[in-house]
């Protein structure tokens, strides 16, 4: 167990010590002219960023978006407050409701519980990337047809979670749908409609009615 000592808070950690292996004095500035690509990548990763704003590129719905964020900014806040991608909603802001669900490399995650910096280099899909009002995807249509929402605030998170579920489980049972949406909450309690919507969309995708 660690013992408490009374050193001032900022004395224990070094900004430079761990850069040794990187082998370039330019690293700390974030500029790496002349480094081989793999070294540049190593230097990039070992670099200490922040606490001020850091320029990053996020790949959102197939487009690269550049944004400056402090390391403490979550992916959700970067999307909503910096990039005007407001489909993902902030409700609990602590990983317990699913309103902020987005796909990262195809898998649903809570964007309120991931730092924007952690999402760099990954493929982010939000509700905006699944369909538009003019071109709804089958699941979005099925949500409307099954009246699968009341206030609608949780809906984007549910649709994103359900879309990924359907992709991995094209032929689900009702029970599987239930557990597939186990990471999202609806305070209006429209689960019955949502389960029907997912089952309907599965039929449509299989080429049924």
């Amino acid at each position: 167990m660690a013992k408490e000592d009374n050193k001032p808070l900022d004395s224990g950690i070094s900004r430079r010590g761990f850069l040794k292996g990187v082998g370039a004095g330019t690293v700390a500035t974030g500029m790496m002219p002349g480094l081989a690509p793999e070294n540049a990548q190593a230097a990039e990763s070992a670099k200490i960023q922040g606490p001020g704003e850091v320029p990053i590129t996020l790949r959102i719905n197939g487009r690269n978006r550049r944004v400056n964020v402090e390391p403490r900014v979550t992916l959700l806040d970067a999307l909503r407050n910096r990039l005007d991608v407001t489909g993902a909603k902030k409700v609990c802001d602590r990983g317990t409701c699913g309103a902020c669900t987005v796909l990262v490399d195809g898998d649903p995650i809570y964007s309120c519980s991931m730092l924007a910096l952690e999402a760099e280099g990954r493929e982010i899909t939000t509700i905006e990337g699944l369909g538009t009002p003019e071109h709804l995807n089958p699941l979005q249509k099925a949500f409307i047809e099954n009246d699968a929402q009341q206030c609608g605030f949780c809906t984007p998170g549910f649709v994103v979670a359900c879309a990924s579920f359907l992709e991995k489980n094209p032929n689900p049972t009702r029970e599987e749908v239930r557990s597939g949406i186990g990471g999202n909450l609806c305070r209006c309690g429209t689960y019955a409609g949502m389960i029907e919507a997912v089952l309907d969309a599965a039929e449509v995708q299989k080429g049924g009615n």
Partner: protein, 329 residues
């Protein structure tokens, strides 16, 4: 959330070098499902966050004939979908899947599950791990409905939140930890969890500049299972869990290990209960007898006595499931 520096090194050595040697100065980020919330709630306000996301070796799973080694950054989803784990360790698959939120399973890691901080509401609301005021815990006289019934002689009353810890201990798992000297040491998982004695300690034997790198589980052919009792099947932690593992020869059990979850500040080895089943035939009545002994030594607080019958029921059911015995009612 307070602002902090961030780095995402490519190697364990770099990561260790960028960690401070006092708790709270720096924090390790795995999937972030627990840490990001702790940062927002100011349970910790580090100067620097060190992300493990670029260290690819931490995601590897290696198998030999008698051991499986799982990198600490393996997500709970990948863990529960792995064919060897599915074949040998139904308890781990069940424990992971019962967390039930696909979003948490996709982002949360095995290392993060073992190192997640307690959910004690005093702790989460800024009263500290031991919830003390003037050297005295607020918990015995406070709202302790979700607190410990074992290992609660003080000063800690929280319960360990990890669902994977109990079945892993039952299976005899150990963990690799890399320390400040860059050397790796192996610790039995049972010894990894600690009951803190002061606010400056945490719930594991990790030092602030140490990284949990891998979990090793012997492939020793043990029957194993978990049984959890939950309020709701999603977005919440269990009230009580029992994990069991034993060798079944005919109908006789040996090498019995019974580990309780969510009832003590660490996963709680019910050794008397394990002994009571050792060498015995697994039947409805021996399981019930063993379950009864698993409750021995429980010390209830004003609001958590309900956990005692839950321990009994979950131990009994876990034993019967592991032995493949159908339960009546």
């Amino acid at each position: 959330m307070k602002s902090f520096e961030y780095s995402a090194p490519n190697t364990i050595e770099e990561a260790i070098e960028s960690l401070g040697n006092r708790w709270g100065e720096t924090e390790i980020m795995a999937g972030g499902t627990d840490l990001v919330t702790s940062l927002k709630q100011r349970i910790t306000a580090p100067q620097r966050v060190v992300s493990l996301k670029n260290i690819s070796t931490l995601r590897e799973i290696h198998e030999s004939s008698d051991l499986i080694q799982i990198g600490a950054m393996t997500t709970l989803a990948d863990l529960s979908n792995h064919s060897t784990i599915q074949k040998h360790f139904p308890s781990l698959v069940e424990a992971a899947r019962s967390i039930s939120s696909p979003q948490i399973l996709n982002a949360g890691t095995l290392g993060g599950d073992l190192c997640q901080r307690p959910r004690c509401w005093y702790f989460r609301n800024g009263y500290g791990l031991l919830a003390q005021n003037g050297g005295k815990s607020l918990i015995p006289a406070g709202d302790n409905r979700y607190h410990a019934i074992f290992g609660n002689d003080g000063p800690a009353y929280f319960v360990s939140a990890s669902s994977l810890g109990p079945p892993l201990i039952a299976l005899g798992a150990s963990v690799s930890v890399v320390g400040a000297d860059g050397k790796s040491r192996q610790i039995a998982l049972d010894d990894f969890f600690r009951i803190p004695k002061s606010e400056s300690e945490r719930e594991t034997s990790l030092k602030p500049n140490e990284i949990l790198t891998a979990i090793h589980i012997p492939l020793s052919g043990l029957n194993n299972s978990v049984y959890e009792i939950r309020h709701r099947h999603g977005l919440d932690w269990p009230y009580a869990t029992a994990a069991v593992a034993f060798k079944l020869s005919g109908s006789k059990a040996s090498d019995v290990r019974i580990v309780l979850g969510h009832v003590a500040p660490t996963p709680w080895l019910a050794s008397k209960a394990g002994k009571s089943l050792e060498g015995a035939e697994v039947t409805m009545s021996s399981a019930a007898h063993c379950a009864q002994s698993a409750t021995q030594g429980a010390k209830t607080l004003s609001g958590n006595a309900y956990k005692v019958p839950m321990v009994k029921t979950s131990v009994k059911r876990a034993i019967l499931i592991a032995a493949g015995i159908q339960m009546k009612g």
